[in-house]
């Protein structure tokens, strides 16, 4: 318990500072209690568009990474050499920092990147502008692909351990009761995997929605992703309004809390089943 408090303390202090900053009680140009920062952020269209964009892209990227991670775990769960090699290969991007992954995407996916150069050499496109924009694009295709790719190793590692610990016994029971391999996969393996993976998927979605480097290099300027919007507000020229950033930080935190509470609620229902 004491250790847990120690881990949480910096976050709690940060939250407290952000709350006081958002209300004009500490920080730059703090002249006493005001709801000015809160009102301005809640009233700005860019806030809601930024949150919407970040949530949507994080959800799609997480879904893609979760499905891929689960599929990898199911396909390569065996003990043969090929399975082991495949599992090791999938884990390769795990230690790569987000900023390196994003830079790599830039080199590969940009309109003047490796794919574009290859297509140009093959005569499929005749100028950089003909390459569909995958980087800094409104839909965030390159951004989502990069984030998903970066998170697949983590989710497959979790999926492999979930299957190894909870899979075999239930699957055997199902088969003993006469289930076909196909029915066992869809009625037993996949649900077991999904329930075990859900907390990790929620964590991944929160990490993606809040990650700065990937968004800085790959996300568009309109709408501006939540981490970029927060950063921009924190360094706006007019110091008197930098406290707006605290409101955005707290909103991001609130979304994370909502996600965790929702997960706990769903898990409680699963346990009750």
């Amino acid at each position: 318990m004491r250790l847990a408090a120690l881990v949480a303390a910096p976050v709690l202090i940060g939250v407290l500072y952000a709350v006081l900053g958002a209300l004009g009680l500490v920080g730059l140009d703090a002249h006493g209690y005001t709801t000015e920062h809160v009102t301005r952020i809640l009233g700005a269209g860019s806030t809601w568009r930024g949150i919407g964009w970040s949530l949507a892209t994080a959800t799609v990227a997480t879904a893609a990474a979760t499905i891929t991670g689960g599929a990898v775990a199911i396909a390569f769960r065996g003990t043969r050499l090929g399975d082991r090699v495949a599992r090791a290969l999938v884990a390769v991007p795990l230690p790569m920092p987000h900023i390196v992954a994003a830079t790599l995407s830039l080199v590969v996916l940009a309109q003047s990147g490796l794919i574009a150069r290859l297509l140009y050499a093959l005569g499929a496109i005749h100028s950089a502008a003909q390459m569909p924009p995958l980087i800094l694009d409104g839909l965030g295709i390159g951004y989502m692909a990069t984030m998903a790719w970066k998170e697949v190793p983590f989710l497959s590692v979790v999926a492999i351990s979930v299957l190894a610990t909870r899979g075999p016994r239930l699957e055997e029971v199902a088969r003993t009761l006469g289930a076909t391999p196909r029915a066992t996969l869809w009625r037993v393996t996949v649900p077991v995997l999904w329930r075990g993976l859900a907390p990790a998927a929620i964590a991944v979605a929160i990490v993606i929605a809040g990650s700065f480097e990937g968004a800085y290099l790959l996300a568009p300027s309109n709408p501006l992703a939540l981490p970029l919007l927060t950063y921009e507000r924190y360094r706006t020229i007019d110091a008197a309004r930098r406290a707006d950033a605290y409101v955005l930080v707290l909103m991001g935190l609130m979304l994370a809390v909502i996600a965790v509470v929702a997960l706990e609620w769903v898990r409680a229902r699963w346990d009750a089943e």
Binding site: L106, A110, Q111, A128, Y216, S221, N222, R235, A239
Partner: protein, 346 residues
């Protein structure tokens, strides 16, 4: 002063994003400070908004001695630091080398129209320039109107970044659309601003559909714009320092045929300064460093295009700048940045 400075470590927070500047600071300035004055220079990254935010946190935490002794700043940061009372001073007038500063130049004696009042010491001066590839674009447009026409005949080949450099481009455009920089001098005037902004945004509204990606998105910072230019995705880059193109060409970032030029309507020239935070642990050491930075040798070394290409601030050294216009009150920058974000970028 020299005696008190000897043996101290001076922590200098500055923008560390340019290898040429880092080399000048780490390999040329630092060894001379150690040999000549017994000062250890500790250069750390930190600039603009982050500096102000960090100093506010130190002030709120009642830190009597801070972590930074010297900061490299421009007018907007000076405005915020002064308003928050975060600077030590006055001190810069007492520096022996301050007598050599070209204080007759309005670009050096004023910082975004603010009088430094001894709270900052000039370090260098630069002028905004557009960068093009003379092999790709042999006849670049020379005025804002010609630029707009060029943008329409070359759709998707021009853009500007969302941060400091792009904002300087927009301010130059605003001066030109608003009847010249003279109309903006003498403090902030909201009516004059609104009128000039509307004309500037009309220019942008007309040009934006023909910008890179149709103006739907903009490069995050000038480094991204440099990359687009170097990879041939756009035909122009820009820089707050007209000599930047020489250093970037030498480093191979830009093609050898890249050139810089200024628009005839005028582009912004400004001076960057060093200042001492209110809680510096070694103000004496910081002052010795600031004085050394103003020495003729240090200024001349820094001005060499293959070293950094940063303009000197000393009398007799300041080359007559073509089409240079000064910065105006910082409120113009603040409002223009806000309104651009809300109405053009959306």
């Amino acid at each position: 002063m020299l005696a008190r400075a000897r043996g101290t470590t001076v922590t200098w927070a500055l923008w560390r994003g340019d290898p040429s500047i880092n080399r000048y600071v780490d390999d040329w300035v630092a060894p001379r400070l150690r040999q000549g004055f017994g000062i250890t220079l500790n250069a750390i990254p930190g600039q603009g908004a982050e500096l102000v935010n960090a100093l506010v946190v130190e002030r709120d935490a009642h830190r009597a001695t801070g972590t930074v002794d010297l900061v490299w700043i421009n007018g907007e940061t000076f405005f915020n630091l002064r308003r928050e009372g975060l600077l030590y001073g006055p001190w810069s007038g007492r520096l022996p080398n301050a007598a050599n500063v070209d204080s007759a130049s309005p670009i050096i004696s004023r910082d975004f129209e603010q009088i430094p009042e001894g709270y900052e010491s000039p370090w260098g001066t630069v002028q905004f320039a557009l960068i093009y590839d003379s092999a790709r674009t042999p006849h670049p447009p020379e005025t804002y109107e010609a630029l707009r026409a060029w943008i329409h005949t070359h759709p998707g080949r021009f853009t500007y970044d969302q941060q400091f450099t792009g904002l300087t481009f927009l301010k130059g455009l605003m001066y030109a659309q608003g009847g010249g920089v003279e109309r903006f001098q003498g403090g902030f005037d909201s009516l004059r601003y609104a009128e000039a902004r509307d004309r500037t945004f009309a220019w942008l509204a007309n040009a934006t559909p023909s910008l890179w990606r149709g103006g739907a998105t903009y490069p995050q910072d000038v480094a991204q714009l440099d990359r687009l230019f170097a990879n041939g995705e756009v035909d122009f880059a820009m820089s707050n320092n007209q000599n930047d193109v020489v250093t970037k060409t030498k480093r191979g970032v830009f093609p050898a045929s890249a050139r810089a030029y200024v628009l005839r309507d005028g582009t912004i020239a400004n001076t960057h300064f060093v200042a001492i935070p209110f809680n510096a642990s070694s103000p004496a050491g910081a002052m010795v460093v600031a004085n050394f930075l103003l020495s003729p040798e240090a200024q001349a070394e820094k001005a060499k295009p293959d070293i950094w290409g940063d303009g000197s601030v000393l009398k007799g050294d300041t080359v007559a700048r073509r089409y240079a216009v000064p910065e105006v009150a910082p409120e113009y920058s603040i409002r223009l940045q806000d309104d651009w974000r809300a109405r053009i970028r959306r």
